[in-house]
């Protein structure tokens, strides 16, 4: 990890250099700063149904700004579905019904007053499989800003550089910004997708198993990137990898669907350190220690 960080010396557009090496499981230093910071989610009684099938019920949680929150749980426990509630991506699927209350910095994001398109500029997402657009590296990053109406070349150039630095990809691609995005490796493509999400200056970035399709070295680079980013954006990450959750997150939420007949629910949520060493619920302990799931 340290070797990789050295490489990135001076590229920390999104972070105050010294914090990078910060312990990933350190929450206290951040909480005093939250008052003025944007990107805080508050969920209460959130339930989701696909048609008649209730998949999530009664989830309530607080997601603090400028930190990493991990959603863990066995396959099919609704982690990704819950994540998609946070930027209303479930709207894109159809036949999905979301109940309850979700606020972003106090504003209801499920109400009519919230335009999902605007919400998604504030809450970006990185998907499980890298999905760069079939265009150049530069155009991939400039895509979001252009949607927001930014046309000035100098401004776009700056955003592209900033975003690529933020995703720790700048040094690798700065000489070939016109190259087609598909020519990048899988790990580079995923960091490109992170950069693409950063370019719209979001308050939150949602990540749905962003490293599950990548090799260990690329995974490491993604995790390092996350560690840097959490000082400027809120990150909510779904992961199947316990070690990953333990390494990179400040809070962990454990979700569980006990049987197919009943919807999934939140078992418990807390500081990652506590969740992984001394969880309140025995089911959390069983899951984390690998007894099921």
């Amino acid at each position: 990890m340290n070797a990789l960080l050295l490489e990135r010396d001076g590229t920390l557009a999104y972070t105050a250099g010294a914090v990078v090496a910060d312990d990933a499981v350190d929450v206290a230093t951040r909480e005093d700063a939250t008052a003025a910071v944007r990107g805080t989610f508050s969920l209460s009684g959130v339930s989701v149904a696909y048609g008649r099938d209730r998949v999530i019920e009664g989830v309530g949680m607080e997601i603090p700004a400028r930190s990493v929150t991990a959603l863990i749980g066995p396959s099919g426990c609704g982690k990704s579905t819950l994540l998609r509630c946070l930027n209303r991506m479930n709207d894109e699927i159809g036949n999905v019904h979301v109940d309850g209350r979700i606020t972003l910095d106090g504003a209801d994001i499920m109400g009519k007053a919230m335009d999902p398109v605007e919400l998604r500029m504030r809450v970006g997402q990185v998907f499980q499989r890298p999905n760069p657009f079939p265009m150049s590296i530069y155009d991939n990053i400039a895509y979001g800003p252009r949607t927001q109406g930014i046309r000035r070349k100098s401004e776009l150039d700056l955003l592209v550089e900033e975003s690529l630095r933020g995703a720790a990809l700048w040094d690798e691609v700065k000489k070939s910004l016109k190259k087609h995005a598909f020519e990048l490796s899988g790990g580079q493509q995923q960091r490109l997708c992170i950069a693409r999400a950063l370019a719209t200056k979001p308050e939150v970035i949602l990540m749905d198993e962003p490293a599950s399709a990548l090799d260990p070295i690329s995974t490491q680079q993604i995790e390092d990137t996350i560690a840097e980013l959490k000082d400027s954006v809120t990150i909510v990450i779904v992961t199947h990898n316990m070690q990953q959750a333990a390494r990179i997150s400040n809070q962990t939420a454990f979700m569980l669907r006990e049987s197919l007949e009943e919807p999934a629910h939140l078992v418990e949520m807390g500081d990652t350190k506590k969740m992984f060493t001394n969880p309140d619920d025995s089911r959390t302990e069983s899951y984390i220690t690998g007894r099921f799931g």
């Binding site: 919400l119 760069p132 657009f133 895509y143």
Partner: protein
């Protein structure tokens, strides 16, 4: 009493039969595959063989650059340029109709219609493809000819524009269904990625989905073009068939296909005029072959880019 063959022997026997069967099937498939190439080559050779006299007596350069087509005068003038331009004018109009309408329809069907509407539209488009070209010709005679005549205040409604409009409509099914397939094949991941960046469905469609489907849409246009340039019956009925150099699409034209169809019945077999018509066919063949080849090359390059 015979002992039943052992398991191993039975399996071996089955394998041998299967191998034989496979060899036969493979041979048949090989022959069929090569047959396509052989037929194509045979067509080219046949056309060329029958054009030899035309090349010798009228000359290829003279034919291609000649602006006068008077095959029955003495001596006959065989300038193909009016015919080639006629075909290009009609095809150009057809493309101007079928590309915007067809691609827009495909975008609607693929990106904006509900599942019910989509199914209905797709079957209607298939029906459109099944209508014989002579029926399109009839409708053109009854509707489009008077319309063009009135709108542009012409003496005759039989123009390149008339034929082109009807040809454009005729090639719509090809353009729509192949474009729709191409759009449909664009991964959901990409649409999702665009939506997650705060793009509306329209923005996503025009900035990501349509460009991503670009090669397929290009193929659709090329196949539509192929259909339009090769179509005979409708243009014969609608374009007025005057073999003169056209300057605008509001004039009567005669296409290469129309010429062959109209004159072949009246020529002396083996005569010069007969041979010249084969030369026209050869030129048509060369044009469509080039279009297809170009389309293939572009598609192949795009495909390589998509491959990850």
């Amino acid at each position: 009493m015979r002992t039943p063959p052992s398991d191993g022997a039975r399996r071996l026997g089955r394998t041998t039969t299967r191998r034989a069967a496979e060899a036969v099937v493979r041979a048949i498939i090989h022959v069929c595959g090569w047959l396509a190439i052989v037929i194509l080559a045979a067509i080219a050779i046949f056309l060329a063989w029958n054009s030899v006299r035309a090349f010798g007596e009228a000359g290829l350069g003279t034919m291609l650059s000649g602006t006068a087509w008077y095959p029955t005068s003495d001596p006959g003038k065989f300038g193909m340029l009016p015919l080639i331009l006629g075909s290009l004018f009609v095809t150009g109009v057809a493309l101007a109709v079928s590309v915007p309408v067809g691609v827009a329809a495909a975008v609607f069907i693929s990106e904006f219609s509900g599942p019910g509407v989509k199914d209905v539209m797709k079957s209607i488009i298939e029906f459109m493809a099944a209508v014989p070209s002579v029926v399109y010709g009839l409708i053109g005679v009854a509707v489009v000819i008077p319309l063009v005549k009135d709108v542009f205040a012409l003496n005759s409604g039989m123009t390149a524009l008339t034929g082109g409009i009807v040809l454009g409509v005729m090639s719509l099914p090809t353009v729509i269904s192949i474009s729709e397939d191409a759009l449909h094949a664009v991964p959901f991941d990409l649409r999702q990625g665009s939506a997650a960046l705060g793009n509306t469905r329209w923005q996503t469609t025009f900035k990501v989905t349509v460009p991503a489907a670009g090669s397929g849409i290009f193929a659709a246009v090329m196949l539509g073009l192929g259909r339009a340039i090769g179509e005979t019956m409708a243009v014969l009925m609608l374009t007025g068939n005057a073999a003169v150099m056209p300057t605008t699409v509001l004039e009567s034209v005669r296409t290469m296909t129309g010429t062959i169809a109209a004159e072949m019945g009246e020529v002396v077999q083996g005569g010069l005029h007969y041979s010249v018509l084969f030369a026209v066919g050869l030129v048509l063949f060369a044009i469509t072959f080039t279009i297809n080849l170009a389309a293939d090359l572009v598609l192949e390059r795009q495909r390589k880019r998509w491959r990850r």
